[in-house]
Amino acid sequence: MRKSFFAAIGLVTLSFASRGGAQGALSLQGLGYPAGGLSARAEGTGGGVADFDALSATTPAALAGVGSPALFVQYSPEFRRVTTASGTATTTTARFPLIIGVLPMGQSWTLGLSSSTFLDRSSETTLDRLQVVGAPTDTVTVTEQNKVLGAIDDFRLALAWSASPGFRIGVGGHAFAGSNRITLTQLFPDSAKFISSAQAGRISYAGFAASLGIEYHPSRVIGFAISGRKGGDLRAQSGDTAIGKARLPDHYSGSVTFEGIPGVIVSARAAHDNWNSLSSLSSSGVQAFDSWDIGAGVEATGPRIMQRIITVRAGARFRTLPFGLNGEKVSERTFAAGFGAPLTRERASLDVAIQRAARSAGSDVKERGFILSIGLRVSP
């Protein structure tokens, strides 16, 4: 008894599945959330003081104002709650978004080395969906677990020059590198009938950029800063295979600071990023939007506690995030407050900021987040 060669394909059932990112939050669309490179101090002022802050990674010029060698580390967990018509999700994302080392060299030059989170894509989702597996009437629930870990980081080597407190200039070279580790698991309910599958992938990124910053204080009362970063190519690679290429977004910012009130610094900043240049780094057509980042804040001398003068801060910030949801921009409004305190005879300082962020994308999806930033500066 024998029989023939196979041939006839009897039934082919296709069920559409997108390969779009399943990040499960407004702020995690596309390649992820831009942490911004702001120090806890800058975050506490809504970003207004960032371009005058040596411990933020937004402009190389500000390095010249650091005064003494310093090492700065920041920890910024975000407690996020996403609400949709069908449910809510509460998550905690732990980030170390900024590490900076600054070294003055002589009277005029300052060298800075930093690592800041450029786009953080860490997320985890579980989705149950019905799937026809077998006969047309054999519908089963597939549990699809998707986990993405990793980020693209901005490594900057910068050199700043300043001959007087009124003028500072700096240049920086940036290497963008990082990876996303993706795990997709499909679980089926009956192991006697179905085989659950797990698939893992790793995508790495590499790119370069250069930045220039200028800070000018025509008087002790007012100061201006401008900075820009010109992006080069950003390549995405899976193993040895190039899977995408885009331009790193150009970045421009302008800031102003006013110190006309004793003990008070009022600052404001506007920045623009050409995120749209990253649109080609998408396999599912996730749209990237150019964005404005506008913030202002106040920093003031506060109470003296335990022989230490506490600096208090407050600010607000508005920006749109790089990647949209269903073609709509995701906007983020942030209100921030914080304080700074010197430690151990001025050889260390602690900066703390708390930000309340509200994100929306023109739909009934709402996202609220608290970002607690704790920065520690040590001067050896």
Partner: protein, 400 residues
């Protein structure tokens, strides 16, 4: 820091914010069967974990043979030294009965015959020829209520003593006789609770009875076969086999189905198999116990390409599932046998090393007359065995 332990799980909003990532599931049904045939189960005489004793009129007649080739010649009375056995009393064979296998409500008489012979050890005809009056040893009748899980079958003391004194083997053949239909299955030595014979060598009850376990001295030089033949089932009459164009699983003598597939290599090598189902058409077998349940078990053939004979290849097999498919011989219609686990194995081996072949066997192979029948690839196209495979292509994980 309290927040060092991350919780990234956003599943609560996935209905809106998590489009599916997994690949498209494709379900294809293909005529992938290259060879399908019924082959005998060659596990060998006496390898079954059960001993089937049946008397079912013209349909089924099976006997049981138990060999006691090593009988004690002496015993030790209490407080004394060893003495030759000069008498035998209360001789019985203890049989462990699987009471779920009992068929028939009428009393059943179990007759014992001397089936010792110098003929070939595996000659069924030679053994069956010895179930005749001059070989009769004893008989015992059991009412249905007396058929409990431990059965004491009393055997002729004189017959046992004669074998002891003549230093001859005692080989007992059991036959069931009933006015109606009768069937039962004893646990064999291979089933771990085989028959054991007890007798007293002295009327003094303070001396413990002697215990004799089955043992076969022949065939000489073939210890494995000899061990199998310590107890075994002899088929005197069995239901007729299915037609050659029909696939047959189970029955007596036991049969298996061997199926060799030709599966597109791109499916096995490149795709992720989620489910694979062998689509069979069951044919009704209205013979014995048509409404009883048979547990069907698919297993993967491990024989390489060098083994070209399906009958031999079907003996070199490996488990792919502990789940069985429960079928009734009298039923008919479409039947699905799940084979996804076989594909997991095939994915790791090339077809040259491991042909894409399976067998279908009954869990109670050799212990039950029940037989399942299926349409073969010689049947009309709609009823032939086919393979339905559900698979996804690998998803290019990486960019959002």
């Amino acid at each position: 820091m309290l927040s060092c332990s991350e919780n990234l799980d956003s599943s609560g909003v996935c209905a809106v914010l998590c489009p599916p990532i997994g690949g498209d599931v494709q379900n294809i049904t293909i005529d992938a069967v290259v060879v399908d045939t019924t082959v005998p189960s060659l596990s060998g005489l006496g390898t079954e974990p059960g001993l089937l004793l049946a008397s079912r009129g013209d349909s089924l007649d099976t006997r049981v043979v138990i060999r006691f080739d090593s009988l004690p010649a002496t015993f030790i009375p209490v407080g004394d030294t060893a003495r030759p056995i000069a008498s035998v009393d209360s001789a019985y064979i203890q049989l462990r009965l699987d009471t779920t296998t009992i068929k028939g409500a009428d009393p059943v008489t179990i007759e014992a015959y001397d089936v010792d012979t110098t003929a070939n050890d595996t000659s069924i005809a030679a053994v069956l020829a010895l179930f005749r009056p001059d070989r009769f040893i004893s008989s015992q009748t059991f009412a249905r209520a007396e058929l409990t899980d431990t059965l004491k079958y009393f055997i002729s003391n004189a017959a046992v003593l004669a074998r002891i004194q003549s230093r001859a083997p005692l080989r007992v053949g059991l036959r069931a006789v009933s006015v109606g239909s009768s069937q039962m299955r004893f646990i064999s030595t291979e089933g771990a609770f085989g028959p054991v014979m007890f007798f007293r060598a002295t009327p003094d009850t303070t001396t413990k009875p002697l215990t004799v376990v089955p043992f076969s001295k022949t065939p000489v030089g073939e210890s494995i076969l000899a061990a199998n033949l310590t107890d075994y089932t002899v088929i005197a009459k069995a239901p007729p086999p299915a037609a050659p164009s029909v696939l047959s699983v189970g029955g007596l003598p036991a049969r298996r189905v061997y199926i060799l597939f030709n599966i597109p290599s791109n499916i096995i090598d490149s795709a992720t198999i989620i489910r694979a189902t062998l689509l069979l058409n069951q044919l009704p077998n209205t013979g014995l116990d048509a409404t009883d349940t048979v547990a069907l078990l698919p297993q993967v053939v491990l024989a390489g390409r060098a083994v070209t004979d399906p009958a031999k290849a079907a003996q070199i097999i490996g488990a792919i599932s502990v789940d069985t498919l429960k079928l009734k011989p009298g039923d008919s219609g479409p039947t699905n046998v799940e084979l996804a686990r076989a594909f997991t194995l095939w994915h790791t081996q090339k077809p040259d090393t491991l042909p894409r072949a399976i067998i279908l066997k009954s869990v109670s192979e050799g212990n039950s007359p029940l037989e399942l029948r299926f349409s073969s690839s010689e049947d009309i196209a709609a009823l032939r065995p086919r393979l339905r495979i559900s698979f996804t292509s690998k998803v290019p994980l990486g960019l959002p």
